[in-house]
Structures are given as structure tokens and as C-alpha cells.
Symmetry: C2
Subunit: 346 residues, 2 copies
């Protein structure tokens, strides 16, 4: 996040943007400071902001804290209280990194998928969600997956709108052969498609088959829309297939208000990598690319976003690599040095 | 399945085994005949049998049938009523097919993972599972994921027992950072490990990370134990990584009774491929390999199972390929011809 702060400063100083920032704690750091994964005061600041940039949360240090205070609870509260129902996770393959993928180069070279994950519903938030002691050493744990029509409608619209500006193809992934939420999902997506987006191509796919097809032939996909839990698993899988893990950003968006403004949060897809914290070797590119998405979606600064993405591609072409993406014959740099290189390219 | 029937006949005629068979309908075929995805009479036969061999179910022809009569309902009833809680899904890479994987050869060559999927619990069977009309064009769909301690204990034991005969390593995959069933899963697996299998290595892994790691470096896994829904998605993903889809068998096992016998069902991991039904071009190897598992787990005929698996490897080495796994310079054969080749190798 320190590298993003440098970019904000650069943008303000050069007059490219005019962005005021404030920082605060979430996750384990917030727990250590306030005893909560995110405090009410922090939530208030987040709600007032035009956009939230988030680092990753979690780590073994907090494995023992109570369930409702674990680091992830802070992230989930941010998503839920800001009503960020649409999580956009691009799975793109940077050409300079195509060989870093586990998949054969020809399968991922030029890959550009957008996964649209529902983020405020499903099994993440449905009630009951509890563990009951049944006596005799037996417990019973319950999670509840709930979806209402309007939740599926609005996420479907986001997916179809995005597809219109991209490859005009949406895959909708669910398990309607086993889950009632899948049955409703399929029904509502079909209806929205028929009523509002019949010019976009729609394919229904079972989530297990989708997990297969992402490996078999990922380029068959343009936009994938799916629920919170399948989106969690499928987007991690897809990001790994690109070979660009540590590189991938995400945007979580709310509904537009009457002024066309929407709450938004931007975060890398990768986790917090507690094993390398504080050593100035983490790859800052996913967070910087998340800031580019922030400029595009929250500040209407698409041109500047393009330039930042261009700078990322350029430094990769120049051979700069953090340790996680290091390849033979390239130039290994630390976090700050990668920030330097991107600023220089800009 | 016709090729398996030929193998049974061969085994009976040569005195290798003494197996009586009876066949019946399940899925779409049963619906067409009886108006049910599996009839009570068929269920009775299945319950009496020492083992059930199952072809795949499902197809677009039955997209419109009522939810509780869809083809999948027949399969789910078989699993549930036979109490087949342990689904064993080997993801192995046949050396002759390593180049058919989307993953780079060095990542999958010699790969041998066993996925142990819980099969009679979780979101597949939990109640409520329903769609409610809320009026105003809004509906509410609910699925419920439920796990009790004993269900996790018994599947964990299956995984640890298998690991002892293999690489001595179990990964337990869940989403304890979001799901209460994941919290209980983690707790119970940890306890069983401590009390009964402390000599086996245990790793806990979040399901989304597992989906990543299966692509990044699949050989890090030996046995993976996970719930019904994650097992569905992760096993499809893993089977695709091997390059051997169309080749992979599965066993679904119940608890041992006082005589050490257990109900069991064997089926290919792949689906019914309705687009090529009846054309004698489908790959019979996954079903034949499922029969080998049947001989091993239900009839204690491990030696014969080994020979059948050896015959499969041999015909692949000889260059026989069905259309789905056809490669340059190999010899393309149909379903019956592949059966011929395997019988000849035996
Ligand atoms: C940290 C965790 C709660 C989160 C999730 O499951 O949504 C993460 O895996 C993600 O994908 O953003
Ligand atoms: C056909 C379907 C109900 C089934 C499942 O979801 O379990 C299948 O995908 C499987 O993996 O065996």
C-alpha cells in the first residue's frame, strides 16, 4: 500500500488527479489496536470515502481470536456495510509472464477473463450460521446459502454490461442440479438476459464443469458471473492459471446512487503473505493495479488508469521482477524498487 | 457399461471371479420408463447388491422435468439411501497421456492424488432447501449446509487410513474463515488426527487456496479430504489437470458392518456426454477403471484389479486412443474396440 501512496502523491503533484487520502486499520492490525477486526469509527470513515483501497488481511497470529473478531470479519463487514455486491476479478495474463503459468503458454497467452462474483449474499452471510452442542461429544454446524431475486438481477446486470464492452459473452455458473439457489440463479439470469440483454451471448455452466473448463481451455471465457462462494474458488483458480498471481487486482462495487456514484473498495486478489511481511520484498503490482481500477471506476480517470497499467506492462517488459515472479535472466527487485520503476515509467 | 459387462463375463469364464450381475435404470432412462429418477424396486436391488456399478446420468433431454425427478435426483438418492459417505476420486496421470494435460508435463507426470469427498452431507442434503415466492416478482432460495461431528470423523478416518497406505500426507480443505461448517470441520479433523493418526502428516488448507495450489504445484498433494460441495468442484478441477478426464474412476463407500462389509457404488468421474450417446465412440476406460476399484474394494480382488489397471496402461502404451484422447500418430478406436484391446491385453 506504501507504493500506492507514492502514486497518489505523484498524481497530486503532477496535477493528474486531486485525491485526498486517510488511512486506518482493518483485520489483525485493527484487532491488536482496538480489539475489533474493524472499528465503528473506521467504518464511518470508509462509508464517507469515495473509495476504499484495502491491503490484504489475515495471518496465523490471529488464529486463536474469537470467530467474530478474526481478521476476515473486518473485510466481510466492509463489504457488507458498504453494500459492495459486485466483485470484479480480472484474470489476465501479462505476456511477459505467460511462461510463469502452470498451463501451457498457448492456453494462457493473451488470456483476459473477467470474473463477476456476487459479494454480499450467499453462504457468506445467510442465517442461521452457527455451531450447536448436541451433547455426547457431538456438535452440529450450519451455514445457510440464501439468494433473493433482486440480488441475482443486479449482479447479472453488472456482468452483462461489462460483457457488452468486452467480448459480448457471459457464462453463468451455478449448481442448479443440486442447489435451489442455483435453480433461482439460472432462472433470474435467463430472464434478465431475455428482457434486457438479448444481444449478449449467454451460456449456463455448472460450477464443477466451470472449474474444469478454466483449465481445459480458459480462452473460451469472457465474463463469468457466479455466486459468492463459487466466485471465491473459481477466481482463485483462474488467477493461478494466468501465471500472474501477485499481479491481479479486484474491484468491489455497490449500486449507483441518484448521482451515478457508487461505493467501492479495491484490493489485490492475493492474500497477506504474513511470512514475508515487513521485508520489502512483496510484489506491489496487484495493489497498484487495484489503484488503477479505482481511478477508472471511482474517479472516472480511465486515461490515467490506462497509463498506470501501461507502466506495469513496461517495467515487466524491461525485466523488473519481484521474488515471487523472478525468472532466469531477469532483474530482481524489492517492493520499493518496483514502485520506483513504475514511477519512473510514468 | 457394456464393456464392463464383457469384463465380468471374461472374469467369470476364466474363473478369475464369480460375479452375478443384474442391471436396472437410473436417471433420465428411469424417468422415461417409470416417471422417477430411480424407482423403489431399483433401490431395493441396489441395497441388496454387494456393489453397484453406475453409468453417468443427466442430459438436456430432461432439463424440463420437475426438480425432484431430474436425473441427478436418482444418483443422489442412491448415494444417500446406501449411505455412501466416502467418495474416493483418484486424480492420476497416465504417463502416456501426460502431454494431454493443460498443465506443463513436469507438473503432472506421475501425479497421483486421492481426493476423499464427503458424499452424504453438506449442502447437497441439508434442510431447508427451497424456493419461496415473496410476491412482487421476488423469490427467495435457500440451501443449507449441515455437518455433524460424526460425519466429519468418519470421512477423516477414511482419508487418514488411505494416506497411511500412500504418501502419509492429508490436506483437509474447508473455508473456516467464512463458514461455521468449516470451523467444525477443522476442529474435528484436528482431533481425529491427534487421537488416532498422529503419525500421518496433516495440513489444513482453505478451499480457495486449494483450488490454486492444485494448479500451481499439484504434486504437493497426496490425499485431500473435503466436504461434498468443495469435493465436487476440486475433484473436477484436479481430474482435468491430469489430462486424463474420461479416464478417471471413483468409488463411493459406506460404513463397514459387523462383518467388515460395506455398501459401495462405482462410477466414472466424467458425465454422460449426451452429445455422443449411442455412437460407440465414448471412452470406456473410466468405467472399466471403476470396475477395477469395485474388484479391489468390494470383492477383495486387488490382484485382478491390478491386472485390469495394467491392461489399461498397456493399451495406452500400444497407442490405442478413443476420440477424446486422440493424439497425432496414435491409433483411434471406438468404444467396443477399446474394450477388445483391453480384453486382449488381459
Ligand atoms: C479473506 C476471505 C474472507 C476472502 C473471501 O473468502 O471472500 C478471500 O478469500 C477473498 O477471496 O477475498
Ligand atoms: C451429477 C451431479 C449431481 C454430481 C454431483 O454434483 O455430485 C456430479 O457432478 C458428481 O460430481 O458426481
Amino acid at each position: 500500500m506504501a507504493q500506492v501512496e507514492r502514486l497518489v502523491q505523484w498524481a497530486n503533484e503532477t496535477g493528474e488527479a486531486e485525491i485526498a487520502t486517510a488511512s486506518d486499520l482493518v483485520g489483525g492490525a485493527a484487532y491488536d489496536e482496538h480489539g475489533e477486526a474493524v472499528s465503528d469509527a473506521t467504518m464511518e470513515k470508509a462509508i464517507k470515502a469515495d473509495a476504499v483501497m484495502l491491503g490484504a488481511v489475515g495471518g496465523p497470529k490471529w488464529d486463536g481470536v474469537p470467530y467474530d473478531k478474526r481478521p476476515e470479519a473486518g473485510l466481510l463487514r466492509l463489504r457488507k456495510d458498504l453494500e459492495l455486491f459486485a466483485n470484479l476479478r480480472p484474470a489476465i495474463c501479462y505476456p511477459a509472464l505467460a511462461d510463469a503459468s502452470s498451463l501451457k503458454r498457448e492456453l494462457v497467452d493473451g488470456l483476459d477473463i473477467m470474473i463477476v462474483r456476487e459479494l454480499t449474499g450467499g453462504v457468506y452471510f445467510g442465517e442461521p450460521k452457527e455451531i450447536t452442542d448436541l451433547g455426547n461429544g457431538q456438535k452440529r454446524a450450519v451455514d445457510t446459502q440464501v439468494y433473493e431475486t433482486y440480488e441475482i438481477e443486479r449482479i447479472a446486470r453488472v456482468a452483462f454490461e461489462l460483457a457488452k464492452k468486452r467480448g459480448n459473452l457471459v457464462h453463468s455458473a451455478e449448481k442448479r442440479n443440486v442447489m435451489k439457489t442455483g435453480v433461482l440463479w439460472h432462472e433470474v439470469v435467463t430472464q434478465i438476459h431475455k428482457d434486457e440483454f438479448s444481444d449478449v451471448q449467454l451460456q449456463h455452466i455448472l460450477a464443477d464443469n466451470c472449474a474444469m473448463q478454466l483449465i481445459r481451455y480458459p480462452k473460451q471465457f469472457d465474463v463469468i458471473v457466479t455466486d459468492n462462494l463459487f466466485g471465491d474458488v473459481l477466481s482463485d483458480e483462474a488467477s493461478m492459471a494466468t501465471g500472474s498471481l501477485g499481479m491481479l487486482p479486484s474491484a468491489s462495487l455497490g449500486a449507483e446512487d441518484e448521482n451515478g456514484r457508487r461505493k467501492a473498495l479495491y484490493e489485490p486478489v492475493h492474500g497477506s503473505a504474513p511470512d514475508i511481511a515487513g521485508r520489502d520484498i512483496a510484489n506491489p503490482i496487484a495493489t497498484i493495479a487495484s489503484f488503477a481500477m479505482c481511478l477508472r471506476y471511482s474517479f472516472d480517470l480511465g486515461g490515467l488508469a490506462d497509463r498506470i497499467e501501461g507502466a506495469i506492462a513496461k517495467v515487466l517488459d524491461q525485466g523488473y521482477r519481484t521474488a515471487d515472479i523472478m525468472q532466469d535472466g531477469k532483474h530482481e527487485v524489492g517492493t520499493t524498487q518496483m514502485g520506483d520503476a513504475i514511477l519512473a515509467a510514468l
